[in-house]
C-alpha cells in the first residue's frame, strides 16, 4: 500500500515541479528583482547599482506625472468596468431574453460571435485601428458625424485634453464588451427557465426580471468581471502608448502608470524609479482584487 502511495507522490511531484520551476523563474524571480530594483538607482545599462532605500517611493509622491497617472487610472478604474459590465449585461440579456416571451432572439449566435470579434484582435492592432477612426479629418467617426449632418459635433478626439481620456476608455470598453457579453450570456443560459417564468407570471416586467432576478444570480460572474476589468483599467498602456498625443497627452490628459514606467525605464534610463512605479502598481492591483472580491462576498444561491 505504502509503495503505491509513494508512486503517486512521485508522479504528482513530477507533474507539478516543472511547472513550479517555470513559475519561479519567469514570474516569482522577476517580481523579486523588481522589488529589489525599486530600492536602487539602476540606469538599466550600467553595471553599477546603488541602493537608495525608499528614495524612489518618496519621489513618486511628488512626481506630477505620476500623480496625473494615478488620477487618470483612477477615472478609468471607475468608468471602464461599470460601463463594460452594464453594456455586457444589457447585450447578453437582449440576446438571451430579448425574443418573444423571454426567449433567446433569432440569430443569437450570430450576435454573440459578431460582438466577440474585437477579442480576437490584439490590443495594439485595436489601438491602431481606432487611431484611424479618431483621425480628425479623414476618420470614420467624424466622417459619420458629418455625413449625418452633425458636423458640428466633429472633434479632434485625441487632440483635445477634455476628450482624449474618454476616447481611450471608449476603445477599452469596445474591445472588452463582447467578451463579457458572451460570459454573461453563458451564465444566463444556466439560469433555469422556471425562475424567469415564475417572475413573469408574478407580473414582473422585462427590466424588473433582469434587475431583480437575473443579475442577482450572476453576482459571481459580475464580481470576477470587475476584477479583470479593474486590472485592465489600471493598465491601459498599449492603447495610450499607440493612440494618444505625446503619448500620454495632450498635456498629460491620458498619462497612465504603465506609460510613466515605460518612459522612465526606456527613455530616461531610470530603471530603479520605473521599478518603484511597477511595485506601486502591483500593490494597487492587489488591493483592487482583494477589495472587489471581499465586497462582493455573500451567500451563494444554488441553482438546480
Amino acid at each position: 500500500m505504502t509503495g503505491h502511495r509513494h508512486g503517486t507522490y512521485r508522479f504528482l511531484a513530477g507533474a507539478i515541479l516543472p511547472a513550479l520551476a517555470l513559475y519561479a523563474v519567469f514570474v516569482l524571480s522577476p517580481y523579486a528583482q523588481a522589488f529589489y530594483l525599486s530600492l536602487t538607482d539602476w540606469t538599466g545599462v550600467s553595471g553599477d547599482v546603488g541602493l537608495v532605500g525608499f528614495d524612489n517611493f518618496r519621489r513618486l509622491a511628488g512626481d506630477p506625472l505620476f500623480l496625473a497617472a494615478l488620477r487618470n487610472n483612477g477615472v478609468m478604474l471607475v468608468v471602464v468596468p461599470v460601463v463594460t459590465i452594464a453594456l455586457g449585461l444589457l447585450l447578453a440579456a437582449l440576446v438571451s431574453f430579448g425574443g418573444r416571451r423571454g426567449t433567446a432572439i433569432g440569430g443569437a449566435r450570430f450576435y454573440q460571435i459578431a460582438y466577440f470579434f474585437p477579442q480576437l484582435l490584439s490590443l495594439p492592432i485595436i489601438a491602431v485601428l481606432w487611431q484611424f477612426v479618431y483621425h480628425p479629418n479623414d476618420g470614420l467617426l467624424n466622417g459619420l458625424l458629418r455625413a449625418a449632418g452633425l458636423g458640428g459635433l466633429a472633434r479632434s478626439w485625441l487632440g483635445d485634453p477634455h476628450l482624449a481620456l474618454a476616447a481611450v476608455m471608449a476603445v477599452l470598453v469596445w474591445s472588452s464588451v463582447g467578451f463579457y457579453m458572451v460570459l454573461f450570456a453563458a451564465a444566463m443560459s444556466a439560469i433555469p427557465t422556471e425562475i424567469v417564468e415564475a417572475a413573469t407570471l408574478d407580473g414582473a416586467g422585462r427590466l424588473a426580471t433582469l434587475w431583480r432576478v437575473v443579475i442577482p444570480l450572476l453576482r459571481d460572474n459580475v464580481q470576477v468581471a470587475f476584477v479583470y476589468l479593474g486590472v485592465l483599467a489600471l493598465d491601459g498602456f498599449a492603447v495610450v502608448q499607440i493612440m494618444t498625443v505625446g503619448p500620454g497627452g495632450p498635456d498629460n490628459a491620458t498619462e497612465v502608470i504603465g506609460l510613466g514606467l515605460y518612459r522612465n525605464a526606456f527613455t530616461y534610463g531610470k530603471f530603479g524609479y520605473a521599478a518603484a512605479m511597477g511595485v506601486a502598481l502591483f500593490f494597487l492591483t492587489l488591493a483592487l482584487a482583494v477589495v472587489a472580491l471581499r465586497a462582493g462576498r455573500r451567500e451563494r444561491v444554488e441553482l438546480a
Binding site: 483621425h135 480628425p136 479629418n137 487632440g159 498625443v245 495632450p250 498635456d251
Partner: protein, 251 residues
C-alpha cells in the same frame, strides 16, 4: 502648414531655431546650462509668440494637433498644405508616397527680426543618431574601427545615394547627382557656411525635453499663451537644475 501634432517636438525645432538665430550662441548655452531664467529670454518668448500666431491666424491645418508624423506628412505630400517642419530625412521617409514632380525643397527657419544675431541662412544642425562604444566593451578598438568605417567618405557617399539623406561627413555629396530635396539641403548647408547650432538639453535632460514638447503642443493649440509657455518650461528647467540625482553637463 501642418505639423506632427502627436509628437510636438517637431514643432519645437522651428521655435527653438528661431530663438537661437535671434539670440545667438549665448541663448543656446544659457538654455543648455540650465541657467536661471534661460527660458524667459526675449527671443524664446518671441519665437513662441510666432508659433502661437501661426495657429491664431489660421495657418495651421485644422486637426493637426492630433496627427501622427505619418498622417501629417501624408497631408503635406497630398498637397493639402505647403509647409511642414521636419528634418532632412523627410525626402527618404516620404519616398513611396511623393507624387511625381512634387520636387520638395527645404528652407531655413525665417528670422524673427532684422536684429537677429545669426544670419538668416544659419541652420540648426545635429546628427540624428547616436553611436556608442562602451568603455568597458570586450573590444573597444574594434568598435571604434567600425565607427571609422561607418563615417568614411565612401560609406557616407553610399548612404546619401541609398537614402537621399544628408550624411554627417563633410564633402560626401561632392560629385553626386542630387534629388530635389537633398540638393536643397546641401545648398542650405553650403549657404550656412559654418553658421550652425544645436541644443543639447534634449539628450542631456530628457524630462525637460518632454516638458518643452508638452508646452509647445499646448501653445500650438492656443490653450496656453507664449508667456505661460516660457513660465512652464522655466519651471521644468528649474526642477531639473535643483534635482541632485540628475548628472549635470556644461557647454
Amino acid at each position: 502648414m501642418t505639423y506632427q501634432g502627436k509628437y510636438p517636438e517637431y514643432l519645437n525645432d522651428p521655435l527653438l531655431a528661431m530663438a537661437a538665430k535671434a539670440g545667438g550662441a549665448d541663448l543656446v548655452k544659457a538654455v543648455d546650462n540650465l541657467e536661471p531664467g534661460a527660458w524667459k529670454q526675449a527671443p524664446l518668448v518671441e519665437a513662441a509668440t510666432a508659433i502661437a500666431e501661426l495657429a491664431g491666424r489660421g495657418y495651421l491645418l485644422p486637426g493637426s494637433e492630433a496627427l501622427s508624423h505619418t498622417e501629417a506628412q501624408a497631408a503635406w505630400s497630398q498637397g493639402q498644405v505647403a509647409i511642414i517642419p521636419c528634418g532632412s530625412w523627410l525626402e527618404a521617409e516620404q519616398k513611396g508616397v511623393t507624387p511625381d514632380g512634387f520636387d520638395m525643397v527645404m528652407a531655413p527657419v525665417p528670422a524673427l527680426s532684422t536684429a537677429d544675431k545669426l544670419p538668416v541662412t544659419a541652420l540648426q544642425a545635429a546628427s540624428s543618431e547616436s553611436f556608442i562604444v562602451p568603455a568597458k566593451a570586450k573590444n573597444p578598438r574594434g568598435g571604434l574601427e567600425f565607427l571609422r568605417i561607418l563615417f568614411s567618405t565612401t560609406a557616407a557617399k553610399r548612404f546619401a545615394e541609398l537614402n537621399s539623406t544628408l550624411p554627417s561627413v563633410d564633402g560626401a555629396l561632392d560629385g553626386l547627382t542630387l534629388s530635389s530635396g537633398l540638393g536643397s539641403v546641401k545648398a542650405a548647408v553650403d549657404a550656412a557656411a559654418g553658421n550652425t547650432f544645436t541644443y543639447r538639453f534634449r539628450t542631456w535632460y530628457a524630462p525637460l525635453a518632454k516638458a518643452v514638447d508638452d508646452a509647445t503642443g499646448e501653445l500650438a493649440t492656443r490653450r496656453i499663451t507664449p508667456a505661460q509657455w516660457s513660465e512652464r518650461v522655466q519651471k521644468a528647467a528649474d526642477a531639473v537644475a535643483a534635482d541632485t540625482a540628475v548628472t549635470k553637463y556644461q557647454r
